[in-house]
């Protein structure tokens, strides 16, 4: 399969960084407190932590849905803190949100075409991108005209992956990919993330499924109460997961 057919990224991926970010949702609310992290290309960086530790908020700041009160978001050398969601997508930063995020009333094909919205001025490129996704996930062809709301959890997840990758983003932000999926499908999801890593992309994975995330992560950050807690390579954490969880349960 050629690179175009599988939808791999041609350019080398940039590094994504959070630098001392403080963020919150309401006036005096501090959800992230001086958090820093570095997401390297060609690797999976996992962000773990108990509920309420700020994992989802980290993704909201990285994707552009939440502006930080202080600190920066850097893509390569560029400061993208002020860029909105759509502008970050143009720079190759794409988000796979938690839960169901397909447009339920639209067909699978329409969902994909909207995923390629930023390519709409070049119809040939858009059609090519859609075709590339159908090649990458051939089972999508079978239900391309079905409303996305009628799909099973696993099928919808496939559509969401296809939509995530259709613009060939170099940087992927993935939020709790296994929640609500049957165990067999969970394996497929993590296998796909490994494949994406092998394609050289920069991947940030936020997950509460500590076991599965550690198995595929290269770098691990943990957060606690909105602050950086631990960080290190996978080997630092493997074999100490029990301790890690015990720590969270009694922090």
């Amino acid at each position: 399969m050629t690179a175009t057919q599988t939808g791999t990224t041609q350019r080398s991926s940039p590094e994504l960084r959070l630098e001392q970010v403080t963020a919150g949702y309401f006036a005096n609310d501090v959800v992230l407190d001086q958090v820093s992290l570095r997401v390297r290309p060609g690797a999976v960086t996992a962000v773990l932590g108990p509920n309420g530790s700020g994992k989802s908020t980290t993704l909201r700041v990285l994707s552009g849905f939440l502006a930080p009160r202080s600190g920066r978001v850097l893509l390569g050398e560029e400061d993208i803190t002020a860029l909105r969601v759509g502008e970050r997508l143009h720079r190759g930063v794409s988000l796979l949100p938690q839960g169901r995020s397909v447009f339920p009333e639209l067909t699978v094909l329409e969902n994909l075409r909207l995923g390629a919205w930023t390519l709409r001025h070049d119809r040939a490129a858009m059609n090519g991108a859609v075709e590339a996704m159908l090649e990458r996930y051939p089972s999508l062809r079978a239900f391309r005209d079905k409303p996305a709301g009628s799909l099973s959890g696993g099928q919808a997840r496939l559509v969401e992956f296809a939509r995530l990758l259709i613009t060939r983003p170099a940087v992927l932000l993935i939020d709790e990919p296994s929640v609500g999926l049957a165990p067999v499908l969970v394996d497929e999801v993590y296998d796909e993330i490994i494949r994406l890593k092998q394609e050289g992309r920069t991947i940030l994975l936020v997950d509460q499924n500590v076991q599965a995330a550690i198995e595929i992560a290269d770098e691990v950050y943990t957060l606690a109460y909105g602050r950086n807690h631990l960080e290190g390579g996978r080997d630092r954490f493997e074999g100490q997961l029990d301790e890690l969880i015990r720590g969270w349960l009694s922090l």
């Binding site: 949702y25 309401f26 006036a27 005096n28 609310d29 959800v31 108990p50 509920n51 309420g52 709790e176 296994s178 929640v179 609500g180 165990p183 067999v184 969970v186 394996d187 993590y190 997950d207 509460q208 499924n209 500590v210 076991q211 599965a212 995330a213 198995e215 493997e238 074999g239 997961l241 029990d242 969880i245 015990r246 969270w248 349960l249 009694s250 922090l251």
Partner: protein, 246 residues
């Protein structure tokens, strides 16, 4: 003495997925039960079932001995079950005191006495000075405290609380914790869902852990948080077919 609230073999599915799969709980009088478990384990659905917000597909719910499964949530309230929410659902367009009057509007008794009780409860959580403030002007933490005392207006037997400590200032958390304990001492039971596990375990007299819709551990707080099955649940499922963890 019958428990304040108990469920047996409670079950609820949404779209073919079992959110709650055979949950049996007993909440005795003057107990604080902490309910923990990873995301998607069925904690909030369990709370929703226990206050009648949703109807179970199977199973029994008894409040002080009276069977209530399948009844409307107003029946649960009348039986003595009160509820607070993760995102406080105060009535934003009316004052703090008026918020407290809403649950008792239909009951008899003098308005003046209800207002007095409302003022007492506001003082109880330090909101006494805000009784004429529209609820929308209160901070998030203050709204959570308001919702808490609104639940107390009806002298409930058991209060179900969903993430009472989430996103609030530490000082508010302290007030909330102290007041819960004070109310508990006078006999009221609590079932509290929280992901702030250390805080919850300090507060609770018994802890229940759920995973995948089932209860996997229950008992004394330290016992449960050290239970290997609980650690396992929080670890999540690794790759199927991979045997030992490192």
């Amino acid at each position: 003495m019958s428990p304040m609230i108990e469920s047996s073999a409670l079950a609820k599915s949404f779209g073919g997925v079992a959110a709650v799969d055979g949950v049996s709980l007993r909440v005795e009088a003057a107990t604080i039960m902490g309910l923990i478990g990873p995301n998607g384990s069925g904690k909030t659905t369990t709370l929703n079932l226990l206050n009648g917000a949703i109807k179970p597909d199977a199973g029994e719910i008894r409040v002080d001995g009276v069977s209530l499964a399948g009844r409307a949530s107003s029946a649960f309230v009348r039986a003595g079950v009160a509820r607070t929410f993760q995102n406080p659902r105060t009535f934003t367009t009316i004052t703090a005191l008026d918020n407290l009057l809403v649950p008792v509007l239909h009951r008899g008794g003098s308005r003046r006495r209800w207002r007095e009780k409302g003022q007492e409860l506001l003082d109880f959580v330090g909101l006494g000075a805000h009784r004429d403030t529209p609820a929308s002007e209160l901070s998030g933490g203050q709204q959570k405290l308001l919702e808490f005392v609104r639940a107390l207006m009806t002298d409930p037997k058991v209060v179900l609380m969903d993430e009472p400590f989430a996103g609030v200032h530490p000082s508010v958390k302290e007030v909330m914790r102290d007041r819960i304990q004070e109310v508990n001492r006078s006999g009221t039971s609590f079932v509290i869902v929280s992901h702030e596990i250390p805080d919850l375990t300090r507060l609770s007299t018994v802890v229940v852990c759920m995973s995948d819709g089932r209860v996997i551990a229950q008992g004394a707080p330290d016992h449960v948080t050290g239970d290997p099955a609980v650690i396992e649940a929080y670890l999540g499922h690794g790759k199927a077919g991979r045997g030992e963890r490192g």
